[in-house]
């Protein structure tokens, strides 16, 4: 028997449901990434945890910074930055790995970028759960402002995905975009208060550091969850970050849509 009926759906060629495709692609990438198992996920935790462990060793044991809850401080920063670097860098790799599909089947190309960012978002949420395990084990009290984390994650998602759109738009024509961006991610890691508390930075550099919306997000998350300080928990700060992240997202998507028309030839 043939697996179809005589019915022909969508006579007018209606709009297809690309959101479903995005979700399927994201969950399948997630499955492949973690080999469809819990152990697979735990394995992937090794990278951020090793990074955390190394930095913790250097800055807590060797340098001996006296920051309250430094381990939580550091872990949160590493997890958030890991998400940003993963979304922006992996989207280019995924675009390349899906070249054979993009050359043969038509669907809007943003699906690939959004799917890859959703995959990383799932990882981020799992990592946040791990963070909370550490959080409660260390006996830190949960503050009411913790709820703001949700808003910050939305902002970070928009920012990272917007950047991924820009990079992926350029990538097929300029393959070294990936290498160049890797360097910027490294730079950004040190230009963002992840390893160090913002308090050790001389005041006159604060303006410069907080030109970077990612730095505002990381600092905001810290203040919301761990403290000290509440300077970044203001509505103004959210407005600035949302404007920057939202603007980048819209601009990135526009550039991407323009450039992606020739992907089938360039990839």
């Amino acid at each position: 028997m043939l697996p179809f009926t005589s019915r022909i759906s969508e006579p007018g060629g209606g709009r297809r449901n690309y959101l479903y495709l995005t979700l399927v692609m994201a969950t399948m990438d997630f499955k492949v990434k973690y080999d469809n198992s819990v152990l697979g996920y735990l394995w992937s935790l090794l990278k951020p945890l090793l990074m955390f462990g190394t930095l913790y060793l250097v800055f807590s044991v060797f340098v001996r910074w006296n920051v309250e809850n430094y381990q939580l401080y550091l872990l949160l920063g590493v997890i958030l930055w890991n998400f940003f670097s993963e979304v922006t860098l992996n989207s280019m790799v995924l675009l390349e790995s899906k070249a054979s599909i993009l050359k043969k089947i038509y669907f809007p190309r943003w699906v690939v970028v959004v799917a890859s960012s959703v995959t990383s978002l799932l990882t981020l949420l799992l990592n946040i759960c791990v963070f909370f395990v550490f959080f409660f084990v260390s006996g830190t009290e949960l503050r009411a402002s913790s709820i703001l984390l949700v808003l910050y994650i939305v902002e970070l998602y928009l920012l990272a995905t917007g950047m991924a759109f820009l990079l992926c738009g350029l990538y097929p024509k300029f393959r070294d975009t990936h290498h160049i961006w890797e360097v910027f991610v490294q730079l950004g890691f040190w230009a963002t208060p992840i390893v160090y508390p913002i308090a050790i930075v001389p005041d006159r550099y604060h303006r410069l550091i907080f030109l970077n919306p990612a730095a505002r997000i990381v600092q905001g998350c810290r203040e919301a969850l761990i403290g000290p300080g509440t300077d970044f928990l203001t509505a103004t700060n959210h407005l600035i970050v949302l404007a920057a992240a939202g603007g980048l997202f819209v601009a990135g998507l526009a550039v991407f849509n323009r450039l992606s028309r020739s992907f089938a030839e360039d990839l």
């Binding site: 697996p3 297809r16 479903y20 495709l21 599909i101 993009l102 043969k104």
Partner: protein
């Protein structure tokens, strides 16, 4: 209905392809040598709903480019491509497969890629698996299946996409006798259902058997378009 009006597709083939900023920087003072190459030139073609059109021609005559333009994967350099109905955009079997995923997951992924909704895939899932004869392998990773099994699965999903227009690029090149028979049955059913099919193949026997109309491409232009017998005769006579 598909309408192509004065469609041209030009590929720019640099003698040395520059893929990176570094290469561009290093060669700032070098003159770029390009070769412009028309894969298709001024194609005018109308395909009515329900037609089964075969497309033949030598390698490099522009057959696949034509299908890709209709599928929307490529944009024409000039002219316009108008497609009024939903296209089932498959050009080759199994392009979207992922070897690390199970057969079940691949059905959902490939189905979504071809434009099926979740409900649609669920509804057809059993039919797809049975038609492919893979009932015992749904949990197996795709890479562990034989290539014949993979082709069967790809075909099974592909034919279950119910869009008015189907684009078929050389699916019969692989597969055994039984598989071919299944393909023929599917084509018969498509014809009965009144679907529009564009069919690229080098298998002239199949072209003659199914097509209402055949277009012969040569170096990017339509050399002949019409009744299968006469077009096939032209193709065979040119040697």
């Amino acid at each position: 209905m598909i309408r192509l009006e004065k469609v041209s597709k030009r590929f720019v083939l640099p003698h040395e392809r520059k893929h990176t900023l570094r290469q561009r920087f290093v060669s700032i003072f070098q003159r770029n040598i390009y070769e412009r190459f028309y894969a298709l030139r001024d194609i005018d073609m109308d395909v009515q709903s329900g037609e089964f059109v075969g497309i033949i021609g030598k390698n490099g005559s522009g057959k696949s480019t034509l299908l890709k333009l209709i599928a929307g994967v490529l944009e024409p350099t000039a002219g316009s491509v108008i497609v009024n109905d939903g296209v089932a955009p498959f050009l080759e079997l199994g392009v979207g497969f992922h070897g690390e995923l199970s057969v079940r997951d691949n059905v959902f992924l490939y189905g979504a890629l071809l434009g099926m909704s979740r409900a649609e895939v669920r509804l057809k899932y059993d039919g797809i698996i049975d038609f492919a004869g893979l009932r015992d392998f749904v949990e197996a990773k795709l890479k562990n299946l034989s290539s014949g099994m993979q082709v069967r699965l790809g075909f099974s999903i592909t034919v279950s996409v119910e869009r008015p227009i189907l684009l078929v690029d050389e699916v019969l090149a692989v597969g055994d006798l039984e598989f071919r028979q299944k393909c023929y049955n599917a084509f018969e059913a498509f014809k009965r259902n009144g679907r529009t099919i564009l069919f690229v193949s080098h298998d002239l026997g199949v072209i003659e058997r199914f097509c209402d109309r055949v277009a012969l491409l040569e170096k990017g232009v339509v050399k002949s378009d019409g009744d299968p017998k006469s077009v096939l005769a032209i193709y065979q006579n040119q040697g």
